[in-house]
Symmetry: C2
Subunit: 425 residues, 2 copies
């Protein structure tokens, strides 16, 4: 039941509890607005660490945090578990599977999904990492492959079971490759004395001539050399064109026998972008006004991966820092609009980027400085702990990292599903 005062309060509805959405919520909390958070999951997911769940390094629960646990300390904010179906702009109403939700201001940050660029066979057979279940399914699949290899009499199939193809030389592909080869060399080699784990392969395939394209050349070269030194086979200027359950086919017809294909070669805006009544641009994203609103709808903001924002002649990347900054901006813009103030156009401040390659090895480029090796790795650890939501989560994650650092032990190597794990598609 709402009383008269509450009815007259402006209502902001935020769709998507990713890096952007939770920051918009934090800005709007306790400012006299009625704020409704909508997500189809009841938790915020720290996606950058999904690859560590997939490689048995972290519990899946440690990188997720219940939205209600945040919302209950935010005055005026409540949560609605729902799948969004569309928006009725004229009626200012969000359509969801839990019923319609009226809004005065709408912030849409539903994130992105994997882009397979129309490669159907790849989509059918490849794993990706966008959701918590993806990470658990991939971990189950990797460990099950080793269990199958134990019983496989044919040497070629045995090796294919221990071969992993990673597509995409961006941060996710680099981090996953490094974590996977370390899992095999440091942990599984001890778990499976009956296997020659030296024969295991991790093949990283990148379509261009460089890994971590956003990084300075020195760091790109370090990454390539480091990964190769760890035993990852890096193929540059190579593309995957076809895939089956036991093989991956490259553009030149070469076949890699491998039972696991991981795809991190592209993302596109979540399908909800198509329901916003605006023709999407490249990657399914929505071209927004300088203040992140929809053309003709100054009360609707698009943030994070869904927003296509041009700045200095280039389109901003689909990354967590962009999502966070657009999320904060949208919250402040709504407060300004209510107060009758105007806001300057959104401007992204690039604080740099980083990627971890393996133990004691990372690259970071920030504020004009380039770090690599141990220093960059330490900065990576601390920043990820800082941005992880929930103090207890931070402790559990830190505990796992310390364990791994000291004992070379990753304990979450559990196969939690006996069904044949089904890939992303």
């Amino acid at each position: 039941m709402m009383n008269q005062a509450e009815r007259s309060r402006k209502r902001a509805v935020i769709v998507g509890m990713g890096f952007g959405g939770i920051r918009t919520a934090r800005v709007l909390a306790g400012k006299g607005l009625d704020v409704v958070l909508v997500d189809r999951n009841n938790y915020h997911l720290f996606q950058p660490l999904l690859y560590q769940v997939a490689t048995a390094g972290l519990e899946q629960e440690s990188i997720a945090y219940p939205v209600r646990a945040m919302a209950r300390s935010w005055p005026g904010v409540r949560f609605q578990l729902a799948e969004v179906q569309g928006v009725d702009f004229a009626a200012r109403t969000l359509r969801t599977d839990a019923g319609p939700i009226a809004y005065d201001y709408l912030v849409v940050g539903a994130g992105s999904v994997t882009n397979f660029f129309g490669l159907d066979s790849v989509e059918r057979h490849a794993f990706d990492l966008k959701e918590l279940v993806d990470a658990e399914a991939l971990r189950n699949h990797i460990l099950t492959a080793f269990e199958k290899a134990v019983n496989e009499p044919d040497p070629a199939r045995k090796r294919a079971l221990m071969s992993f193809v990673v597509v995409g030389g961006g941060p996710t592909g680099v981090e996953f490759s490094g974590a996977l080869i370390e899992l095999v060399r440091y942990v599984l080699a001890k778990d499976y004395p009956e296997l020659s784990t030296d024969a295991a392969r991790v093949v990283l395939i990148e379509a261009t001539d460089r890994l971590l394209a956003a990084m300075p050349e020195k760091l790109r070269r370090y990454t390539l050399e480091k990964l190769r030194g760890m035993g990852v086979e890096v193929l540059l200027n190579a593309r995957v064109t076809d895939a089956g359950p036991e093989r991956v086919v490259l553009h030149d017809g070469a076949i890699i026998p491998a039972h696991t294909l991981f795809w991190s070669a592209g993302v596109k805006a979540a399908p909800l972008a198509g329901a916003l009544g605006v023709t999407p641009v490249a990657g399914g994203r929505i071209a927004v006004q300088p203040d992140l609103t929809l053309p003709d709808h100054p009360e609707v903001y698009v943030i994070g991966d869904m927003a296509c924002i041009e700045q200095d002649g280039a389109v901003l990347p689909m990354t967590a820092p962009v999502a966070m900054q657009t999320g904060i901006y949208a919250g402040e813009a709504i407060l300004a609009a209510i107060a009758g103030r105007t806001v300057p156009p959104f401007r992204y401040r690039d604080k740099g980027s980083m990627a971890t390659i393996g133990k004691n090895a990372a690259v970071a480029s920030a504020f004009g400085f380039d770090f690599r090796g141990y220093a960059a790795w330490l900065v990576w650890l601390l920043l990820h702990l800082y941005y992880l939501i929930g103090f207890r989560n931070r402790i559990v994650v830190m505990l796992n990292w310390i364990w791994y650092y000291w004992f070379h032990e990753r304990q979450v190597r559990l196969i939690t599903s006996r069904e044949t794990p089904s890939p992303s598609a």
Copy 2:
């Protein structure tokens, strides 16, 4: 490849990596035997804490430990992930879905499954707690019920969504009821300000006139009073006869509107018992010789919940302590048989039993002493940490308990599956 020396080594095959099987393995490790551990899961599961996973208190990974992580420090021991299909006693061969495994000695400890006593509708609609996936599914179901209650306009259905029927007044039923009412009162009440969680019901149904039948009367009374004081509705001398997705029917025709039914009113030996060529006795268990072997098969041991062992005129209960002691005995009996020694008949030493009811409240009966309240609760905590496998697991579990104790916070309240969770059946 085995050399001549290895071929001539005796091989012991242990089926089931529960409380019994891992102890048999530990006894046989490094004693010159070839030991093969067989389980359909790649981990040992600490079942007594499943109810804490189901009530959002623990990560599922923290109560499971990879078998290979144990086996790699045990000389002569290896692991085979496989589902056992049967035993060929004449050929001394175990039949599995990963192929046949020959044995000289066989130890069978496949545990138990839930016994619904032929109540089909209950089996279809009830949740139980035997496996890791059960606990996650039940947690998802409980939290989803509260999310649905938020949107439910009908007050009766809203209350039924927040009503939980627990069947069976043994340790599992008591512990789950207590943990569930605390989850609702301490945690969900804060998470769902839009719900009157005071209207939530936890109904514990027991067919006899007592809870925790194995306990002395004073502790039974304490348990009953404590649970009722916490808000659990305890119905004694009551039986569930029918169930649907939104209601539970009692023996007298009374109907409890509830969307969640949890069954802990009985167990029976795992189906594998039926494949051992011996007619099972009550509860599907196998009547064994005084040395735990099968009649006519002195090389085959049955341990844990599957073994029906009479002692002092009563049958031993299906509990973790019995499983542990039978597991150790089987290992020592095999070593004795190889050395040509005989062993005295198995004899169970009852060290007592315990159950936790809630924060600062437990009952324990051991060595002729009865404890209750804070002291029993502390003993319960320490013993469970002690028996949990894996140092890191112990730290994570302890961390969760401290968190809950200090902050009344259970952080794993994640809905990790968007599908309608399907109950046990």
